[in-house]
Symmetry: C2
Subunit: 233 residues, 2 copies
């Protein structure tokens, strides 16, 4: 019997990856006079991976990686005006309208009537709170947990703090690494709804996924039917 | 009867402002060839104030303000190598050792035996968690709340979520604006422990403070004596 449904936010409730991809494209064009675009992209991805341990997730850390990479790839020849353009990309990203995925608004409204809903999201506290406030669906969530990493202990702590039994909890998200695997490990259920693109940090090998059972849905709109099936055992 | 004591973190439990001041000094020296240091400082402070609504608190947002101000003040003549130095300041800030204020370790250990202790801090989730983990005193706190703003509703929500009665709660911190005023407004007690420097965003007029009652201590080490006095009514 499921009582609590928790949702990841970025690329589960609203589109997020396209905002980063769009900024990356503009960034590559900005540096096109110095290097070809695939070279720039590779170095930016490397900087991002390297910097996550220092800067954490989110737009501000990503922007610092863009700026650092621009300095490195141009051997310091990048100009102040070009750097200012990169900061402009960050401002645009932060101001992007919240674009809910198809079916999110209706499904969240429907589920809120019968379940306790939560958001469990990684990322920058300030960014994520602002996005939830602008999303228009924030009031349907009884609890919002913004965490710096999503590992087994994170979920265990959240369930304990909120008095939730593992067997009555399901996590819904687009990342096998962050939303599915650690949740299955604590004995809860998980529903995987892949997004059209996958962030390269979140890739999981097939081997890691073997012997794990979880549902894969095409859209959040399929959640009510899945819950009905599960409740019938 | 006080049961729960919550502490602000930056400049209440550990030194924080000096890390920012040190970075600012290096930044002013870096730009000394373009502008005199007080001019640079004034413009950086203005950029920080302006950007807080977009970037939030913390080292990453501050670094983006430093970079943006450098571009503006040099009319784009700043070089990539200079920008890279600014990113170096951010890395140093993030890696700064946690330097507890005098008396913090002993007092926190003593109070943890008789009270439920919390941390309530503003700032970047990732930074603040990392600092608490490195502080060596993290285990004494039953609960850590990292919030994006500290207003009346923030404290009200925290007390409700944790089943704390306003009359049994005291907040300890170095900011009248964030730690004292909103806590008095919900009917709890507050203990003000000024830090040697005050962040300009947090200044409060004397008028605002009139008719408010709260204790002012010189050091956290005076907390046990203050609590004993309060408990005797």
């Amino acid at each position: 019997m499921i009582k609590t449904i928790a949702f990841d936010a970025d690329d589960t409730l609203w589109h997020n990856e396209p905002i980063f991809l769009h900024a990356k494209e503009k960034y590559q064009r900005l540096l096109a006079g110095y290097h070809d675009e695939s070279w720039t992209e590779r170095h930016l991805d490397e900087a991002e991976s390297r910097n996550i341990q220092h800067f954490g997730y989110g737009i501000k850390g990503f922007t610092l990686s863009m700026i650092e990479t621009a300095c490195d790839l141009t051997e310091g020849r990048i100009t102040g005006n070009e750097i200012r353009e990169i900061i402009g990309f960050a401002r645009e990203m932060l101001a992007s309208p919240i674009d809910l995925l198809d079916g999110v608004r209706e499904t969240i409204e429907e589920l809120a009537a019968n379940y306790s809903l939560m958001v469990i999201t990684k990322g920058d506290l300030f960014d994520q709170e602002a996005k939830l406030a602008r999303s228009g669906i924030g009031d349907h969530f009884a609890k919002v947990e913004i965490v710096s990493s999503k590992v087994k202990a994170t979920y265990k702590g959240i369930l304990e703090r909120n008095g939730i039994v593992a067997g009555e909890f399901v996590m819904v998200g687009n990342s096998l690494r962050s939303d599915i695997l650690p949740v299955l490990e604590i004995g809860s259920r998980a529903v995987y709804i892949p997004y059209k693109t996958e962030w390269f940090h979140e890739k999981v090998s097939e081997e890691e996924m073997r012997e794990h059972e979880f549902a894969t849905l095409e859209s959040i709109a399929e959640m009510p039917a899945w819950l009905a099936k599960v409740s019938m055992g």
